[in-house]
C-alpha cells in the first residue's frame, strides 16, 4: 500500500525540530530511519500532517565516552552501533544484540532513537536500555528533561515521550570491573522480532554475585527487568539448584501472549531455557565458577 498525503520538512537542528513539533495547529511526527514509521504509513496506521525528518541533524549522530558515561545520539544507526569500538569495549552485550535486529538493509537506516521511541515489546534496544540503566535525554515540550529507562516504556508502542518532545540522546553509565554479560534470543527466522529474548549483567566479587541485572523482551507488554530474580542472585554463588529456582521465578513473573508466531506456554518455556544460558555465560564472563 501507499502512504497517505503529508507535508515533509527536513530540519538541521534540534531547535528547528522542536519548534515544528511545538506548533499544535498541525500534527507533526518525527521520522528518523523510517524503518518502523514507513511500514505504518504504508499500512495507513499513521496519518501525520507533517513529517519532520531529523536525519540531517549532525548533533544527533555522535557517540562519545566521557566521565564514565557513554552517550549515544538518537540518530545513531543500528549499523553504527554494531560496529562502534566504544560500544564493543564497554557494552559487548549491545554489539551482540544489534546482530539480532532485522537485516543489514534495515540496520543501515534504523536508529537507536527510533527503536526506543517506537517501543516494540520484542525489540532489542529497549531491552538494552533497561538492562544498562540508560538515561534518555529529551528536548522540546516543557523543556529539556531526563527520563530513566525504567520509567520510559509504558506499554506496547507507548512511551513517556510527550507531544512536542524529541529524544536527543541515550546515556549509559559504564559497568564496574568483574562484570560478565549474556544475551540469547529465539526468533522464527534470523532477523525477525524475538519470540523471547533475555539479557543479563552479573558482577562477581570473591566468587559471589554483588550485582545482578536481568532484562527480558518479547514476553510482556514492554521489555522488563526481573527484579525478583535479581534479588535472589545478589550475595549468592551460582549453582544448578539456584539457577533452576531463578529461572522458575522469572517464568512465573512474565505474561507472554499467544499469537500467530508462538503460544504463551512456548514463550514461557523459552525464557526458562534462555535465562539459564545467559546467567551461566554472564557468571563465567565475570570470573565466577559454576558449581
Amino acid at each position: 500500500m501507499k502512504p497517505p498525503i503529508f507535508d515533509y520538512v527536513k530540519v538541521s537542528t534540534v531547535e528547528e525540530a522542536t519548534a515544528i513539533l511545538a506548533d499544535s495547529s498541525k500534527e507533526a511526527v518525527v521520522i528518523a530511519g523510517g524503518q518502523s514509521l514507513l511500514p505504518m504509513l504504508n499500512f495507513r496506521l499513521a496519518a501525520p500532517e507533517i513529517l519532520v525528518d531529523i536525519s540531517g541533524i549532525e548533533a544527533l549522530k555522535s557517540l562519545i565516552e566521557r566521565d564514565n558515561v557513554v552517550t549515544i545520539g538518537a540518530m545513531t544507526r543500528h549499523v553504527d552501533l554494531g560496529s562502534s569500538p566504544i560500544i564493543a569495549r564497554h557494552f559487548p552485550v549491545i554489539t551482540k544484540a544489534v546482530t539480532h535486529i532485522a537485516h543489514l538493509a534495515i540496520r543501515n537506516r534504523g536508529t537507536i532513537g527510533g527503536s526506543l521511541c517506537h517501543a516494540d515489546p520484542a525489540a532489542e534496544l529497549p531491552m538494552m536500555a533497561l538492562l544498562l540503566n540508560a538515561e534518555l535525554m529529551v528536548a522540546g515540550g516543557k523543556g529539556p528533561r531526563t527520563i530513566a529507562a525504567k520509567d520510559f516504556f509504558q506499554s506496547a508502542l507507548e512511551t513517556d515521550i510527550q507531544e512536542g518532545e524529541l529524544l536527543v540522546s541515550v546515556s549509559l553509565p559504564l559497568l564496574p570491573p568483574n562484570t560478565g554479560w549474556g544475551f540469547e534470543e529465539v526468533s522464527r527466522k534470523s532477523g525477525d522480532f524475538a519470540l523471547a529474548a533475555v539479557s543479563a549483567i552479573l558482577v562477581v566479587n570473591d566468587g559471589e554475585i554483588s550485582e545482578a541485572r536481568i532484562a527480558v523482551a518479547g514476553v510482556d507488554e514492554t521489555p522488563r527487568r526481573m527484579n525478583g530474580a535479581e534479588a535472589m542472585l545478589r550475595g549468592k554463588m551460582l549453582d544448578d539448584d539456584h539457577l533452576t529456582a531463578v529461572c522458575e521465578t522469572i517464568q512465573s513473573e512474565i505474561n507472554p501472549e499467544t499469537d500467530l508466531q508462538a503460544s504463551s506456554n512456548y514463550r514461557r518455556h523459552l525464557i526458562g531455557v534462555l535465562t539459564a544460558r545467559v546467567l551461566k555465560d554472564a557468571f563465567a564472563g565475570a570470573g565466577g565458577i559454576f558449581e
Binding site: 500500500m1 501507499k2 502512504p3 497517505p4 498525503i5 503529508f6 507535508d7 515533509y8 527536513k10 523510517g34 524503518q35 514507513l38 511500514p39 504509513l41 504504508n42 499500512f43 513529517l51 525528518d53 536525519s55 549499523v79 532485522a102 537485516h103 543489514l104 538493509a105 534495515i106 543501515n108 537506516r109 527466522k189 534470523s190 532477523g191
Partner: protein, 161 residues
Amino acid sequence: MTRKVPINVRVNGTKYERMVEPRRLLSDFLREDLGLTGTHMGCEHGVCGACTILLDGDSIRSCLCLAIQADNAELTTVEGLGDIEALNPLQQKFREHHALQCGFCTSGMLMTVTDMLSKNTSLTDEEIREGLSGNLCRCTGYQHIVDAVRDAAKQAGDVSS
C-alpha cells in the same frame, strides 16, 4: 493534494531532476517516474527484500524510504550492475549456479549480496545464509543462491588479495 517538490538524484551514474509528492516511495519513484522496473515490489513493508537497492553505497529497502529522503543521493539499482550482454561477476555466478527461477527476488538478492561482499568476502555458509535471511525467495529453496554467493565471494576475494 500536497504540492510537488523538486528532487535531484543520481541513479546508476545518470542525473535526474524530478518533481515528487512527499509521500512518493523511492521504489515507486524508480519504477514509475524513472522507468527503472528492475527493482521489484513485493510486500511494501520491509519484509521481502525484493525492493533492495543501494543508497550512497548502503543496501536499503526502497519501499521504506521516501523519494524526497533520497534528494542529492547516489543510488544503484540492478540496472547498474551489468546488462544482458555483459553480466557483472555476481550476476554471472547467479546464472552459472541456477540461482534463480522466476527471477522476482533476484534483483533484491543481487543488491543485498553486493553490499555484503563490499564489506567482507571471507564468508562462512552460515554468514551467507544470515545475510540472505532478509530476502525471500519462493522458488529456489535458497541452496543455489548460497552456492552462487559462496563462489562470487571466493572470486572477489581472489581478485582483491
